[in-house]
């Protein structure tokens, strides 16, 4: 045996296996997609509706992913109930993300009120920092390393956008370009992961009878 058996690693592997099918990558991509498409819709629909339109889009995307997970993913990976340590970790993560979102919401109000006095770069930097922290925490608590990369990608998107806007005059603060690129990376990564998942985990046959087991 060349590898040490680590219970912690086994638990992590078991946890990661249940949701690393690439579908969440695709779902998360709707976040930068909103920032990429929203500004393009704004002249037609107005600021409010160009953002609000994404609420039902998010809902439909979630429903689609839920259905694919139920009918395509779960029959391939089976079912597992996590241990108490993992459940505690997830509960902590939920609480921290809730508090973090409240803090971002409060900061968003401060930025909105002082919008005219703050520079675009400063707003972009604050947004980027919060996304980086949020995604890094999610990556840590969910054992989902790709989220570190996505966090980094999203955190630089507004800054690069601002730079494109000030240097080359790219429309809408460069958001359609930078966030579109981030969304594209996430969608591509998610699709590749999903296709690999389907290839590596074909539908299993019906359970065989268990030898020596009781039929209770």
């Amino acid at each position: 045996m060349s590898q040490k058996i680590s219970l912690k690693e086994a638990e992590r592997k078991a946890f990661r296996f249940t949701f690393q099918d690439g579908l969440w990558d695709i779902f998360i991509s709707f976040f930068p997609l909103q920032f990429a498409i929203g500004p393009l819709l704004s002249p037609i629909m107005g600021d409010f509706w160009s953002s609000a339109i994404f609420l039902p889009v998010w809902g439909l995307a979630y429903l689609a992913i839920w259905l694919v997970r139920k009918y395509v993913v779960k029959p391939r990976i089976g079912m597992v109930k996590y241990g108490s340590a993992r459940r505690l970790r997830l509960a902590r993560f939920t609480l921290i993300m809730l508090l973090g979102n409240l803090a971002i919401f409060a900061l968003g109000i401060v930025v909105y009120v002082n919008f005219t006095t703050l520079s675009g770069v400063l707003i972009a930097a604050i947004l980027g920092l919060f996304w980086l922290i949020g995604f890094s925490m999610a990556a840590y608590f969910l054992d989902y390393p790709r989220l570190y990369f996505y966090g980094l990608l999203l955190s630089v998107s507004p800054l690069v956008g601002e730079w494109l806007y000030s240097t080359y005059g790219v429309a809408h603060h460069g958001f359609p370009v930078t966030f579109g690129f981030s969304a594209g990376v996430m969608i591509l990564s998610g699709l590749v992961t999903f296709v690999r998942f389907l290839r590596d985990n074909p539908l299993p046959d019906t359970e065989p009878p268990i030898q020596g087991a009781s039929n209770a």
Partner: protein
């Protein structure tokens, strides 16, 4: 004549739980130890065992009283949920402890 003092005492090896000691069963128990319960498909994916192999090993673990299996039907198909019993959890802990002890005591 070899010095008895310098020879490692290998007798504890004979006390190693043979039900757990088989690699396939050890894999199954390791995963069941770190989760609350899992079904057949999940264990097959995690361990890489075939249906038949997994069924055989689960049968032996159930006979030893280390796991419990709840059988049900889901979408008209048989669905088995497996979890460690208290006895199985204790046996796994003891196995881990004794293996660590035996291997630590062996000279390099």
């Amino acid at each position: 004549m070899p010095d008895e003092q310098s020879q490692p005492d290998l007798r504890p090896l004979a006390d190693i739980d043979q039900v757990i000691h088989a690699p396939a069963r050890l894999m199954v128990l390791t995963y069941l130890y770190v989760v609350e319960s899992a079904d057949y498909v999940f264990l097959m994916r995690m361990t890489g065992l075939t249906w038949g192999n997994l069924a055989t090993h689960l049968g032996k673990l159930e006979e030893a009283g280390y796991i419990e299996m709840e059988k049900a039907f889901k979408d008209k198909k048989p669905h088995t949920t497996i979890h460690l019993t208290k006895q199985g959890r204790r046996a796994f802990r003891e196995y881990k402890k004794s293996m660590q002890q035996v291997l630590d005591d062996l000279p390099d």
